[in-house]
Amino acid sequence: MMEQAIATYREEATELLAELETSLLELEENPQDDDLINRVFRAMHTIKGSGAMFGFDDIARFTHEVETVFDQVRNGKLFVTRPLLDLTLQARDQISTMLQASAGGPPADETKGQQIIAGLQALLPQSAAPVVKETKLAEQPAAQGEVCQRTFRIRFKPAPDIMLGGTNPLNLLNELRSLGQCEIVTHLDAIPPIRELVPEQCHFYWDIIITTPHGMDALKDVFIFVEDDCDLKIDLINDTAAITAEGDANYKNLGEILVERGDLSPVEMQKILSMQKRFGELLVEQGILPQSKVEAALLEQQQVRQARQEKTVQETALSIRVPAERLDYLVNLVGELVTVQAHLTQTADEKNDGDIIAIAEEVERLISELRDTTLTMRMLPIGSTFSKFKRLVRDLSTELGKEIDLETAGAETELDKTVIEKLNDPLVHLIRNSIDHGIEMPEVRRAAGKAPKGIIHLGAVHSGDSVLVTIRDNGAGLNKEAIRAKAVERGLITAGAELSDKEIYNLIFAPGFSTAKAVTSVSGRGVGMDVVKKAIEALRGSIDINSTPGTGSVITLKIPLTLAIIETLLVRIDDNFFVLPLAMVEECIELTRADVEAAHGRNLAHVRGTLIPYVSLREQFGITGAQPDIEQVVIAGVNGSRIGFVVDDVVGEHQTVIKSLGKLYRDVQGISGATILGDGTVALILDPHLLVRDVERSELQQFG
């Protein structure tokens, strides 16, 4: 691209030089013609400006000198004379030689250039010699050393007509937010009554307290375009670097802050102080200040105190490195402790002894705190995995001749160490898929009116007790017809099957499914999305896919925060106990004999007007024994649909410490692990995903 622009520049400059020559010669005849003077100036201005853009620095520097002289002519401070025209024509030739030199011609004579410049400068009136000022957008100064957080107080009061200049003040506030931790208070007291209000004007103003590693210059840069159109006051109010080790975590009182800001006079402060009530409330009560000003000052106090406290903490104990296995051992012990605690609670309840129950409750509280703390110790930010993918995207896209950028968000989101490790392979697969099948070749994209460079967005965000990881691309999207045709060909669905978009997309997770026309080195060997789905389900997560033809696909992985301990629902069938992940359970209903008979042998339950299919776990696991008259249906959300699981009894919520089943049981379908209950009984952990798949398969064999 640059080469092309450089070639355009050479042509353009050559044309401009020709025009310059003509204009100069005409100017000799009409030395007063403003139009001609302007034309000369403009020609040189463009040669200089564009020259600097494309690396012709020597030309830009030289032309700048000539342009300076003509700027004086244009402003009427210098007259067009014969010597001036001679020198300018010589300068024109010099520029022309320099241009040719850059294209492989003979080099320009530098001494000659210097002579021309000296000659031109001699023509300038002494005082007019220009002072070249650097007003480039300052590069942001790097944060000094490690964590050097400073807190600034900013009052930003834009001029009412700021929006007429095309500035949206909210963008500036958002830009500040991106620089550090920000507290923003909006002041409304300058807004005129509605009758006088001009909707095109802005009467808001803001107090901002920001704690940031950047310096004052970076903050000023945010407002660089509006400096003259606003009242802006930026004060450094706290510099953690300047605080000594014993650091005073206290900060000024509210009154002192307001006085310092000029919002309040010292006399007023004394008057209020003498009343001996809460200072801020009084200020508002007395009508001296609006609530927002007081809030702003309080926020400043809070944020600075916090920053100083953090600094103290950081200095006393930064972090300790602990071997991972020691942590794992600790988590195991906590797991055992949770089991013992359940036993204790149960025993205490049975003995019905008030003293022991009180102790059991105390222990329960402490252990749940201990559990939470231990689990957070194993949390790591997911960002370490993200950075690996940058390389993957770069290498693969080059190999395939595609242009792709990887954007990431939420790298700081924390997940259990083991989960992050196990998430790596599925993510690699999904990103490979996006690169290979999602993003189109640059020319295809261009033809579709899209930017030739594709974007893959990788994001992570907390949502309740899970983390949502999304892989979004702006590629072609999934081809519904191709997926459908393939699924029919593979016998996954019948040709006439009516499927929703979501169901069609979900087909790509079926074993052995791959729509790539050719097998590439990147993906498409048939071991595809089913492996990903299995890996995600092994983490007790779920996978969801969404796609819009032409604009791209989004794959969302929902991953539980930890693998060690989960909240479950404990259920009973005969004398066997099972647990279901509580996150999946939506509701529980009763199922009577009459309901079963009314359904005529189909496993469907009526729930508030909708039919919900259910799986009888008693039948599924071949449990004999007396079936109660009223059974319970636990309704869970599985792959986006509601499925019921029939059990004898729902016992209640249970903290489940997950134990794996061991190699011998690795082929057992529908069971993902086991746990030990308070009384030592073993309960099996059900995997609703696998259970449903198992039932679907057997139904297909039976009726399909």
Binding site: M53, D71, K133, G166, L170, F225
Partner: protein, 121 residues
Amino acid sequence: MAKVIMTADDSASVRQMVSFTLKQNGYDVVEAVDGKDALTKLGSQKVDMLITDLNMPNLDGIGLIKGVRAGSLNKFIPIIMLTTESQDSRKAEGKSAGATGWIVKPFKPEQLIAVVKKVLG
């Protein structure tokens, strides 16, 4: 939908470079060869932003900015002017005519994109 940005510049090479950089970053671009051309196009087409040179034949950048602010369709769009370091007075003139900000020539593609993102939010 991609945001539309107009680049008004009488230098084809600068137009080409601005336009390429913007397109590469997912913006749609409308080109204008001078102030008059730009003002005519802006009279009938809504754009999200204008990047204009100051020195142009027919109608210069200052005139163009004034014209846009006096119109209705694109009255409130951010306008960025391209200036050179010797033009401090022109910068002030541009600001008072209604420019939102400026970029000093020469600039790198990243600088252009940083400014575009800054004013478009």
